[in-house]
């Protein structure tokens, strides 16, 4: 009897068709903070597993109870099988993991440096600051982990679909830009210059850089103290000789995202800011020729009996109150209150519809689906199944 209060004038995002397409190997769920990305990613992954895909879902910061529902008790960076999840023919499976960005960075170092050098890097104060608090490390490591999971899937045949939740960044675009930023920073001019002495005789320092560099180190030393630059220099020298450029790594994962086997699902709530973020993201994907599957409009108001308009409901409520007084304890008072409630829900739905229409008008070709605002948060597999069912068929 309840239906979605927001019917989008857009092609339907067919989640089941997307999940049935074996060419799709990676699904990235992205969007503004607080719109339900993690829940959407988990619901998509569960639905895929129950339709026969072998799925690994990487979440960034799930609510405790949702994590528990997927059998994740600690943030240990290792995919673990979610017990009891399979498809009717037994072929589907679901693994879930939570990203630990520091651990992932440590693993990259450990995998590429000999033990002694790895220890030196891990103990470096600059490395510790970078790996735990650099704005962008989380995005970089999410990409890094995605690359690792994909490599493992290819090598071992463990998974045929990886679903990724994206970090709660300032902007959804950060997921695409931060790795490149970190990569180019670490491979950048100043860091090269800083480490030049370690690589011999100031090679590659241009005239300008040499001039500016004295000023630069002078100012930095003044502000930060000399030790910081020494730490940075040691770190970069150590890391540079052990494995290839950060930028190359970032570029490789970026290329993976452009692959036809990847599908982006942009999640938004029917609110101005969330839809604006979604718009930015969709435009960016189009500009970069990246594969967009569509929009999930989450938490939309459900309506019952849309043919009774708010105006009709309010007029009827007023008529009842006029005739029978406004005694809240009478059936008349109750009926009038329920009619006003009906009008209120319809109005909220109308406002959401209006916001959604601005999005679909600006991006007419983008497929979309809606998920209703559910009474409580999702924290069990049945809840995820319910979300998955709405994703496939918004009613």
């Amino acid at each position: 009897m309840r239906t979605s209060g927001v019917r989008l004038d857009a092609p339907l995002l067919g989640i089941d068709e997307l999940l049935a397409d074996e060419g799709v190997r990676i699904i990235v769920c992205t969007g503004a903070g607080g719109v339900g990305k993690t829940t959407t990613a988990a619901a998509v992954a569960l639905r895929a597993a129950e339709s026969g895909r072998r799925v690994c879902v990487m979440t960034i910061d799930p609510a405790r109870r949702l994590a528990q529902a997927m059998g994740l008790r600690s943030l240990d960076n290792t995919p673990r099988q979610v017990p009891g999840v399979t498809s009717p023919d037994g072929s589907g499976s679901l693994h879930a993991m939570m990203l630990d960005m520091k651990r992932t960075f440590d693993e990259v170092v450990e995998a590429h440096a000999d033990p002694e050098r790895a220890r030196a890097i891990l103990a470096n104060p600059f490395y510790q600051a970078l790996s735990s608090s650099f704005a962008g490390t989380q995005e970089y490591m999410a990409m890094e982990k995605l690359g690792q999971l994909r490599a493992r899937a290819d090598a071992e045949g463990t998974w045929d679909l990886i679903v990724v939740d994206t970090p709660p960044s300032r902007s959804a675009l950060d997921f695409l830009d931060a790795p490149e930023r970190l990569g180019s920073f670490l491979d950048g001019r100043f860091i090269r210059v800083l480490t030049a002495p370690a690589r011999g005789a100031g090679r590659g320092i241009g005239k300008l850089a040499a001039m500016g560099f004295g000023l630069f180190t002078n100012v930095l030393n003044k502000i930060l103290g000399a030790q910081v630059l020494v730490d940075v220099g040691t770190f970069v020298a150590a890391i540079d000789t052990t494995f290839g450029g950060f930028r190359e790594r970032a570029d490789a994962t970026y290329a993976l995202l452009k692959d036809r086997g990847t599908a982006f699902v942009v999640v938004a709530a029917p609110e101005r800011d969330a839809l604006r973020e979604a718009s930015y993201f969709v435009e960016r994907l189009e500009a970069d020729d990246m594969p967009l599957a569509g929009l999930v409009l989450n938490r939309v108001q459900q309506v019952t009996l849309p043919e009774v308009t708010p105006e009709q409901a309010l007029a009827a409520a007023d008529r009842i109150s006029d005739e029978d007084g406004s005694d809240a304890r009478s059936d008349a008072g109750l009926t009038a209150a329920l009619l006003r409630l009906h009008a209120d829900r319809q109005r909220i739905a109308a406002r959401q519809r209006h916001l959604a229409e601005r999005f679909t008008a600006a991006h007419p070709g983008v497929a979309a689906t809606t998920v209703p605002a559910l009474p409580g948060d999702v924290h069990d597999l049945d809840g995820l199944r319910e979300v998955g069912a709405y994703l496939a068929d918004p009613c």
Partner: protein, 347 residues
């Protein structure tokens, strides 16, 4: 506007749980944080407006490069310069500033080293970006440092001093790290000027002159994040102010009616007859069934929100409830929210 005001005052008394918050006296820096999507920029702006009443001057600052303030007050993007964005009731003024770490670093170099020109040259080379990048803590010290510089104008009775500064801060997940600049730079710089600067910043932030407020919604995740943030702030000895429960909707049924809905006792036949008498032409039984279902949904939502509100009340902090504005946030709505905050003790 009057009816809007009346409706909102009713909403403000939501569930009768409002405690009067004394967020004003003695506090010079109001830091506002909250989970993404809870409306912290809107609440920050409303707080700045509420504090600016009666001829006072407040500064509203943002630090994340979003230009959220400009969008909210419907003015062009803010430069790194204090601009008047609104006039408050009683002749007060709200000024706004979008702080940028690079500009704040140049400021810092000029104030402490008289290095403005060198700073500009460094910026052209991309060195400023480099410096704030290699020292993540540096960026936060510069941003919070700017807020402290403004606060300290009052001590010097400077002509450009403000009565209060409201900082639209990063979300709850990052707030402690953002404010706790001392421990952030201590990993990087154990001695030196930036360290001294960080100490100065901490002497204001970890004092009763600062209050960190959190914005929440009556939903499970935002409330959990609020509870976690309060614990983390207390652990870090940062001064917790109050909680703003944003976007609330009042129950539309009386307690008795909610009971009827919960217990499945809504009388469908009577509702059908009354709706038909009132002129609804649709099939009466269908209308009644729909209204009953909506009533039950509503009771369920009210129960859930009350549970969440209780969890917030259990924190024992000053709590103010703000209504969901049916037509979204515009300037009129912002003034109305500021009015509610003033009545609630934000003044």
């Amino acid at each position: 506007m009057n009816s809007l005001r009346a409706a909102m005052t009713a909403t403000w008394n939501y569930a009768g749980s409002v405690t009067t918050a004394s967020l004003g006296p003695g506090v010079a820096l109001h830091v506002v944080s909250g989970k993404g999507g809870t409306g912290k920029t809107t609440v920050s702006a409303a707080v700045a407006l509420a504090l600016a009443s009666q001829g006072r001057r407040t500064l509203l600052m943002e630090v994340e490069g979003r230009q959220g303030i400009a969008q909210l007050f419907d003015v062009p993007p803010l430069p790194y310069q204090e601009r008047k964005v609104a006039v408050a009731p009683g002749g007060g003024e709200v000024w706004a500033l979008a702080v940028d770490a690079e500009d704040a670093l140049l400021d810092y170099l000029e104030i402490f080293y008289n290095l403005r020109r060198a700073g500009s040259a460094l910026r052209r080379m991309g060195a400023v970006d480099f410096a704030t990048t290699i020292a993540p803590g540096l960026r936060d010290v510069l941003l919070t440092g700017k807020a402290i510089e403004v606060v300290r104008r009052t001590d010097k009775a400077a002509p450009d001093a403000y009565d209060a500064v409201v900082l639209d801060a990063p979300p709850t997940g990052r707030i402690c790290r953002f404010l706790n600049v001392n421990s952030e730079v201590s990993g990087l710089a154990k001695v030196g000027p930036i360290r001294n600067h960080a100490d100065l910043v901490m002497s204001v932030i970890a004092s009763p002159r600062t209050a960190v407020h959190l914005v929440s919604l009556l939903e499970e995740m935002p409330v959990q994040e609020t509870i976690d943030a309060v614990a983390e702030l207390r652990e870090n000895r940062l001064p917790v102010g109050g909680i703003f429960v944003n976007m609330t909707r009042p129950p539309m049924l009386t307690e008795e009616q909610l009971d009827q809905a919960r217990e499945g006792r809504l009388p469908a036949e009577q509702i059908a007859a009354l709706a038909q008498q009132a002129g609804l032409r649709q099939d009466a039984a269908t209308v009644a069934a729909a209204l009953v279902l909506e009533g039950q949904d509503h009771a369920q939502r009210v129960d859930l929100e009350r549970r969440e509100l209780q969890r917030i009340a259990d924190l024992g902090l000053p709590t103010l409830t703000l209504p969901l504005l049916a037509d979204g946030i515009d300037l009129g709505g912002l003034y109305a929210l500021a009015g509610i905050l003033r009545e609630g003790g934000v003044r």
